[in-house]
Symmetry: C2
Subunit: 399 residues, 2 copies
């Protein structure tokens, strides 16, 4: 291994963003943040690390195993690199922006770091872009973040979008209604998470035959939203579960009205990744990709006063970037030595990328004895530098 | 201390970027990166951390005491959070972009973290924006990065700019010419760094009376560039030192021609912060601020093959942000419940920030029994949400 090859080795899951991808990513992030700002979501910028016992407490505990930790010589306390920004934004809402008018709309974009990648996503550093809507619990609020994400993704050129709605509170509400003992709920959850109808049916002696039948029916009530809602309505759900179903239906109707072309599906018993959510959840997909583009849902912020109703979304920039159409080609022009500064500046304001010749030379250079020779040499240099044009006698000449 | 107050406590030197500053910072960074791109500087995005022995080796050793370090469970090796991005960009140039055509122009923007703030800058997390020009050693290259920085800063509204040029290689070249022993150079350096003419004079028995006289004259040859160049020319410098002076003069002349309104000063013996530079250095100021806006200079990249000639610049976003004119006021409009989605979307595409009412209500809400009542309530809500307008019967009504 040469010294260079060794230097090129980055830790697992870390990478160098190179041209043109790094610029494409940054442009895409800024366009999403601009779209969020147009919906009133004001940007916040939480720090890269915080005290471990603040960042990883409360709802942050689920993130504790994902965070790099290290000692702070300044305070003697342990610090943690943020594995997620959602909780930082909720912290800002409940502390520094405690007295800002509600509903509070916040957007954010930044880098997060996790101690371990997954098989599916070996990366350990991610670009996270998201938005949180804090202090309002209405179905219109759930719908707003979904519609904003859809409009924003479509705006940057990600097409064929779909959203999959979830209601992780439906099964717990049903269990409460039916007074299913805590002791049975864990096994029920496992069976539902595995989408295992037989295992749900097998629980009938513990949770009652009726409950097992209804839960088995919920398990298969997935797919297009109308099919899900028809199936749930057919179940004649008890009181608390019916309220959860109604909420899902109301949010789905507002979203459908706001985005008539959007494909809406639902999986009313889906729970994985949504363990701490308290209402409608959602995941975005594109038929062109297959992979998830982002997700989010309703939750409560933690704080001493009981917290606030909130909903929010996170977009996965790595997946979204693979979906983006290629950027328009940049006009790139080579400027021979001696090109007037004003001409160069004007070209830049007209949208050209200017590449100045820095090797010296020009009219008085021995290499350039005739204009043919100059043109030839300039064209070669321009081509070498990846330019589409070069500048000659006040004109952009195409190569 | 309440729980909330405790949660609000961030580690020393870390802070939450709040609205509207966080958005202003991001916009400013992107405008600078767009300006750099127009000069052909392609964006790269190095990772937040690397292996300690790669990030902090070679020229990175000077940064070693500034970096947070922690163990990587994946490799068992030590990692370091980047205290600076310049060396990462030089690494990318000499590894992943080794075969890209030269000169190689790269730009970057990102967050850096240092273990300890200074008295002047207590922050430990900074936004760094910079550009590197690699593989070319001409005076035109030195001038390009200076002129690009000036044009880019002026483009985002930072006015009254000045640049202070340095030539940290001038004194070492003179010492070589005069065969001043290494043993004396350290004391000479200290005297020059302290701008202590008497101490330079006092070295005359060790370095020779002529050398002491010339170095003393260099020490006072600071100020407007013409004054510096006149003073240096009057010194009749020996061969190597004369080449360094000529280089400084050539770069200054190209910069002055490219930016006739720019105030150019020079301090030919300045060395502090430029210990590893190998040619013309520069620091940007604004007469409106006093504080330094950024700096850079010529250096050599490290690599197994002897490295490459390079020059680069770093801008200090915290100082630059304090100089920025306030952003234009955003038109922010409150949309009562029931506002058509298409109307809302159209307003957003017209540059409005739309704030939807999520509290329900609307024409059929018992609170809104007459249009007067609706207007009054809507106006109150709009004001509460910081809006300048609200939407009524298809029109934007100013509050």
């Amino acid at each position: 291994m040469t010294f260079d090859a060794e230097k090129a080795l980055l830790p697992t899951g870390m990478c160098d963003g190179l041209p043109p991808e790094a610029a494409k990513e940054a442009a895409c992030v800024e366009r999403l943040m601009t779209a969020f700002a147009a919906w009133g979501y004001a940007r916040v910028k939480p720090p890269l690390f915080e005290f471990e016992d603040s960042l990883l407490s409360g709802s942050g505990r689920t993130m504790a195993t994902h965070a790099f930790r290290f000692a702070d010589p300044a305070s003697g306390r342990m610090l943690a690199l943020r594995p997620d920004m959602t909780l930082q934004v909720a912290r800002i809402a409940s502390t520094r922006l405690k007295t800002a008018p509600r509903p509070l709309r916040l957007g954010y974009a930044g880098q997060i770091v996790r101690i371990k990648g997954s098989q599916l996503r070996p990366e350990r550093q991610f670009g996270q872009v998201g938005a949180e809507l804090i202090g309002v619990a209405t179905p219109d609020a759930d719908a707003e973040v979904i519609l904003m994400a859809i409009e924003s993704l479509a705006g940057i050129g990600v097409g064929a979008l779909s959203v999959d709605l979830g209601m992780p509170t439906l099964v717990p509400a049903f269990c409460d209604d039916m007074q299913i003992a805590e002791a049975h709920r864990h096994d029920l959850r496992l069976a539902l998470d595995r989408k295992d109808s037989a295992a749900v049916h097998a629980l009938k002696d513990r949770i009652g035959a009726d409950s097992a039948r209804v839960l088995g029916a919920m398990l298969t009530a997935t797919g297009p939203i109308e099919r899900t809602l028809d199936a749930l309505r057919a179940l004649d759900l008890p009181e608390k579960a019916a309220l959860e179903r109604d909420r899902l239906e109301t949010v789905a109707r507002i979203v459908a009205a706001g985005a008539p072309d959007l494909e809406i599906t639902a999986d009313p018993v889906e729970n994985r990744g949504f363990e701490y959510h308290s209402g409608v959840t959602f995941a975005f997909f594109s038929r062109a990709a297959g992979a998830e583009l982002g997700r989010g849902g309703r939750y409560r912020t933690d704080d001493a006063n009981g917290g606030e109703a909130a909903t929010g979304l996170t977009l996965y920039m790595d997946t979204i970037l693979t979906m983006m159409p290629p950027p328009p080609e940049t006009k790139r022009i080579f400027l021979p030595a001696g090109t007037a500064r004003d001409a160069a500046r004007t070209l830049r304001t007209q949208g050209w990328q200017t590449i100045s010749d820095l090797d010296g030379g020009g009219a008085d250079h021995p290499d350039f004895t005739s204009s043919e020779r100059e043109t030839g040499t300039t064209a070669d240099k321009a081509r070498h530098m990846g330019c589409s044009h070069f500048w000659l006698n006040g004109t952009a000449v195409e190569i």
